[in-house]
């Protein structure tokens, strides 16, 4: 990805993301309702994001808050490149670590070692990079003694730690986090928060999606509130807080 010089890590310009009402379509349905099927196919009608614009500056910690269904996860998926916008422009510059899901591609029958290699490759690491960081990943996750055991023998906490360990060892420039901090025991959460603080100090851009406003207050420089796919408020967390209270009430 080309790094832009305008100091923006993420930029949304008038982004619309519309979904088709016919989510999982069968052939029968398509053929029986051909006219409405074609109409819906051409012009999807559910707008998850409806003209959203914002910028995340390089090195900033940026929060996105809102109710369920307000478009938070869609915004994150657009940043991750998993979805494309229906219209408008999404720009992300810098190496991305999407923590939308920890341990993407993990397979229960493979060993911890094999899963680290696979997950790291999916997140974009080269083979020699994986080799060089392998020990650091295993030590961070604290699963050294079990690394050659199949993943299904791991507790869910261990699996999460391993996924998190791989993700934070990818040298991210932009970190996308989708409420993953909400899971895991206290010690793991602390470890995550410490790592976040470390990233912030190192100048990594962080985009955090959550409906826990206290995390935003303690971690973020700026935040936006999404409501029904639109930006309802933007600014410093303290400025967004009253709007957030109103929206949640």
């Amino acid at each position: 990805m080309p790094s832009s010089s305008d100091g923006c890590a993420v930029a949304f310009r008038d982004v619309v993301k519309a979904y088709r009402r016919l989510s999982t379509t069968g052939l029968k349905h398509a053929l029986l309702h051909l006219p409405s099927f074609v109409r819906e196919w051409r012009a999807p009608t559910i707008r998850a994001l409806d003209g959203v614009s914002f910028e995340v500056r390089r090195g900033e910690a940026f929060g996105i808050v809102g109710r369920n269904g307000s478009g938070k996860s869609t915004a994150l998926a657009l940043m991750a490149g998993v979805l494309g916008p229906s219209s408008g422009e999404v720009r992300v510059s810098g190496r991305l670590a999407p923590l939308l899901e920890l341990g993407a591609g993990f397979h229960p029958e493979l060993s911890g070692r094999e899963n680290v290699g696979l997950n790291a490759a999916i997140l974009g690491l080269r083979r020699r990079e994986i080799r060089a960081r392998f020990d650091a990943i295993v030590d961070f996750a604290g699963v050294r003694d079990f690394i050659d055991e199949p993943l299904r023998t791991y507790s869910s906490g261990m699996q999460m730690r391993l996924g998190f360990a791989v993700a934070v060892h990818t040298d991210p420039e932009v970190l996308l986090i989708d409420e993953v901090l909400a899971v895991g025991d206290v010690e793991f959460q602390r470890k995550c928060l410490d790592k976040m603080a470390e990233f912030r100090k190192a100048g990594v851009t962080i985009v955090l999606v959550t409906h826990d406003f206290s995390t935003v207050l303690s971690m973020c420089d700026r935040a936006i509130l999404l409501e029904r796919g639109r930006v309802a408020a933007a600014g410093a967390p303290a400025e967004v807080a009253p709007e957030y209270q109103r929206a949640m009430a």
Binding site: G26, A30, P98, A104, H107, E109, L123
Partner: protein, 251 residues
């Protein structure tokens, strides 16, 4: 590009390791399936129907092993994206790597079958010829092009039209009988033969058999096969390209 090649390799290795994990016979199952079919057909056609084709068991095996590679790839194609939904929805990487990895897994198994087949053929007095050195890779490339082209269509369209998974099962069955696996294409009436030539596998299976039985492969046949393979691959790539953008939201 090399980064994606490494990811592709990692995905193939995963598929390979997972496929027969915790089974006692492991890779042997890749051999067992075509062998079992060969024995059944051999019994029916030689002992029941009195088919006089000489060397019919080798004839069958030479067609069934490559067929099994393609058939298994096609049967699995509709679930490639459905089975990896979590991955497709959460991380971006070129989507085409998933169907490619699924094919790669089948090809690796097929290559292992070839390695096993060579000593068997030596013992059976049907030693591989020197032509294998160029013919096997060339034919394999053509077969991969055809199979990947079809798999790309099946895997991407099935995300939108889930009925395709059921249709695929029937389609693969039909394709089997429309491909000269059990019979020789030379035994067909001219008209039927002209129609079957539209089946891309018509250009794959008979050359494999010819290579095993006579040690030769016709360059002209391979040329047609390569053209057909390129066309199918291009078509599949085009369909997949149109569909891949919406995969994450349809899953």
């Amino acid at each position: 590009m090399t980064r994606h090649a490494e990811l592709l390799w990692a995905l193939v290795a995963k598929e390979f390791k997972v496929r027969y994990k915790n089974t006692a016979l492991g890779f042997l199952w890749s051999v067992a399936n075509p062998v079992a079919f060969a024995l059944v057909f051999y019994f029916v056609f030689v002992h029941v129907l009195r088919n006089p084709t000489p060397n019919y068991l080798v004839f069958l095996l030479a067609g069934l092993f490559p067929w099994h590679c393609t058939a298994s790839a096609l049967s699995g194609a509709p679930t490639v994206y459905l089975g990896n939904a979590g991955l497709v929805k959460k991380v971006y990487f070129p989507r085409i790597l998933l169907p490619m990895a699924a094919l790669g897994n089948n090809v690796v198994h097929f290559l292992l079958v070839i390695v096993v087949a060579v000593p068997v053929l030596l013992v059976a007095g049907q030693p591989p010829s020197l032509a294998w050195l160029w013919a096997v890779p060339a034919l394999l490339v053509v077969q991969c092009a055809v199979t990947l082209g079809l798999a790309l269509i099946l895997s991407s369209l099935n995300v939108y039209f889930r009925d395709l998974a059921e249709l695929t099962a029937i389609f693969v069955q039909l394709l089997f009988f429309m491909t000269p696996v059990l019979y020789s294409e030379t035994a067909l009436p001219e008209k039927v033969r002209a129609i079957l030539q539209f089946n891309p596998m018509y250009w794959i299976i008979p050359p494999w058999r010819e290579l095993v039985l006579s040690g030769r492969m016709s360059g002209a046949g391979l040329g047609v096969g390569a053209a057909v393979g390129a066309a199918v691959l291009l078509l599949g790539y085009g369909v997949h390209r149109r569909m891949e953008g919406g995969l994450a939201e349809q899953l």
